[in-house]
């Protein structure tokens, strides 16, 4: 008898979960992504020897660096002179540095590389703002 009750209980629970799933599937979802913050950390006064400068050209949504890798060491001050052939949002993962690029204008992005690892560099275009396009990596090597 109690087994029958338990079975009914299970069927009830399964039914409720199923109904909830169907309801929420049809209701659709809101975009919960957090609004992106534009943050440009301009170079502070640092040891000139530690400044690592890179010219970044983005043509047809690709970096012209070959390989598309910005390689620095922990403690270096990264200085990027970024130019694009279209308006884009330029973003470095985990560091969460980003800047808006205007077509054919050079934008300077500078920040200290304090976090070791390999981080995705992505762009977002106006038409598909939420879609991230991987264009290269920032590689921050630990100090030997």
């Amino acid at each position: 008898m109690s087994t029958q009750k338990n079975k009914n209980f299970l069927v009830g629970i399964v039914g409720l979960i199923f109904l909830a799933m169907v309801a929420f599937t049809f209701m659709g979802t809101e975009d919960e992504s957090v609004g992106n913050q534009i943050e440009i950390e301009v170079a502070k006064e640092v040891d000139v020897e530690k400044i690592k400068e890179f010219e970044i050209n983005i043509v047809n949504r690709k970096m012209t660096l070959d390989p598309p890798l910005i390689s620095v060491e922990v403690g270096d001050q990264v200085l990027l002179n970024i130019k694009s052939d279209e308006n884009l949002r330029f973003h470095i993962h985990e560091y969460d540095h980003e800047t808006m690029l205007m077509a054919d204008e050079v934008k300077v992005l500078s920040f200290p590389a304090m976090l070791p690892g390999r981080f995705d560099i992505e762009i977002h275009s106006g038409e598909e703002e939420e879609k991230a396009i991987l264009i290269g990596f920032l590689e921050v090597m630990p100090k030997a």
């Binding site: 087994t3 975009d31 919960e32 070791p116 879609k131 396009i133």
Partner: protein, 463 residues
């Protein structure tokens, strides 16, 4: 229909990072430096010869290994006898299971704000294996489907006889689907997808246990039970049928097992899947298949080629293993069939597979696993702060020198364990040490190859 599928995937992709490998989460691994790669490879070769030299004079095979019954320790005995503690774990497992489905379906549809993706892909799949290595078959106690089945007190008498000729092939098939979802499906971390797929799979498991019997289904058709059973053979502890909790040398349980052909295939599938996971993380793979990862749409670009790749990787690993077993048979001129020989030697592949999993997932687990601290306070992503941890700041700094050394050491230890298991198995098969040493040569070469492959995957530029 195909168009609708791709539109749904594209919509989900908008909410997800542009990831190629792993089920979910960011990966910031730096490839291990060349000198460590060569050091690891060299250590593997030297260790292989050292073990052979060490045991070359072994005259006879001894099946025994050191054990200690942990129940001799008062605390362990008290905990073991306390059934209510076990029940607490079971209830927690059911609670987490229901929470995973509910958060997946009802919660915020953004992976890092939802409990389900982090819990499933990082904590459970990436980290749960550690519990098995240390404490034995933990899945057996916390398997939510088994616990729900027992809680509901379903009639355990099967409605149908399980077709014995199927053996554990259904589990093989389900594991392949699971691996495909993790490594190939474009949006495995999309919470609603995860919640729905777990729900559907749960219905299949519960129905399967009711129809064919709980144990029959779990042992033959439930891939995670089969997977964790394999891992448990590698474990440092084992609970015996007479209630002992034996502490034993790690991997020594592999000397007790004898796998069937279907289990052999499952074990090779594990090795091929973890290796394929590593391979699709490398830029080499995308150069090889002619896909430009820069400027692309992530997994959507490689869905077909990686589907073929995951199947091919199993075929390649299976063929390579069998080729080396055939060589072992030829040079030892044994009467034992190739299939039999392969089934006897295959447990030695397990340590290599497990240590690669541990090395590959380590930083991923450390970094992304911390999300769970935030998510236990706000599992649905609704802005709650139940335990006051929702604003936990994730520690993102990794000591890569420590990580690289850990990865290489773990892989070399796995290699040594595999070589040791090969040695004991060959001595058991061939009895005399000379033939045993000859038989080991091709298998050891294979082990060195697998170890170097693992190190190479970790040292290659990845995405």
């Amino acid at each position: 229909m195909k168009k609708i599928f791709f539109i749904i995937i594209l919509l989900q992709l908008l909410l997800l990072p542009n990831a190629y490998a792993h089920g979910f989460g960011s990966k910031i691994d730096l490839p291990i430096p060349g000198y460590l790669y060569w050091f690891g490879g060299g250590a593997a070769v030297i260790a292989s010869f050292a073990i052979i030299s060490l045991f070359v004079k072994s005259k006879s095979y001894d099946d025994s290994y050191w054990t200690y019954n942990l129940r001799n320790l008062g605390l362990v005995n008290t905990l073991y006898k306390n059934k209510s503690l076990l029940n607490v774990f079971k209830i927690i497992s059911i609670g987490l299971f229901i929470l995973t489905i509910l958060t997946g379906v009802l919660g915020a549809q953004f992976p890092i704000k939802n409990f389900a993706p982090t819990f499933v892909w990082v904590i459970w799949w990436g980290g749960f294996i550690w519990l098995h290595i240390l404490f034995g078959n933990s899945w057996n106690f916390v398997n939510p489907w088994k616990n729900i089945f027992e809680l509901i007190k379903f009639d355990e008498k099967p409605l149908r006889q399980y077709p014995e000729k199927l053996k554990s092939w259904p589990a093989f098939g389900f594991f392949l689907i699971f691996a495909w979802i993790e490594l190939v499906y474009p949006t495995p971390a999309y919470p609603q997808f995860l919640g729905n797929i777990i729900f559907v799979y749960s219905v299949i498991v519960l129905a399967g246990m009711r129809v064919f019997g709980k144990d029959r289904w779990l042992d033959n058709c439930e891939p995670f039970t089969v997977f964790f059973n394999f891992v448990s053979s590698f474990s440092m502890t084992r609970v015996t049928s007479d209630g002992k909790i034996l502490l034993r040398p790690i991997a020594s349980g592999l000397l007790d097992v004898r796998y069937r052909f279907d289990q052999l295939c499952f074990l090779i599938l594990i090795l091929s899947v973890v290796s394929f996971d590593g391979l699709i993380s490398t830029l080499f793979w995308y150069d090889f298949i002619g896909i430009d990862v820069f400027g692309g749409s992530g997994r959507l670009d490689v869905i077909y080629v990686n589907t073929v790749g995951i199947l091919l990787s199993f075929i390649v690993f299976f063929s390579v293993f069998y080729s080396f077993v055939i060589i072992a048979k030829i040079i030892t001129q044994t009467d034992i069939t190739v299939v039999d020989l392969a089934q006897r030697f295959v447990p030695a592949l397990l340590p290599i597979s497990i240590v690669y999993h541990l090395a590959h997932y380590s930083s991923y687990f450390f970094l992304n696993g911390q999300l769970i601290i935030k998510l236990i306070s706000d599992p649905f992503g609704f802005g709650w702060d139940i335990f006051g941890t929702s604003s936990y700041e994730i520690v993102r700094t990794i000591d890569f020198i420590l990580l690289w050394n850990y990865q290489v050491v773990v892989i070399v230890i796995g290699h040594i364990l595999s070589v040791y298991v090969v040695h004991r198995i060959s001595l058991r098969i061939f009895k005399d040490s000379k033939k045993s040493i000859i038989s080991q040569a091709p298998i050891l070469l294979l082990m060195v190859g697998y170890t170097v492959l693992g190190l190479w995957l970790l040292s290659t530029s990845s995405i």
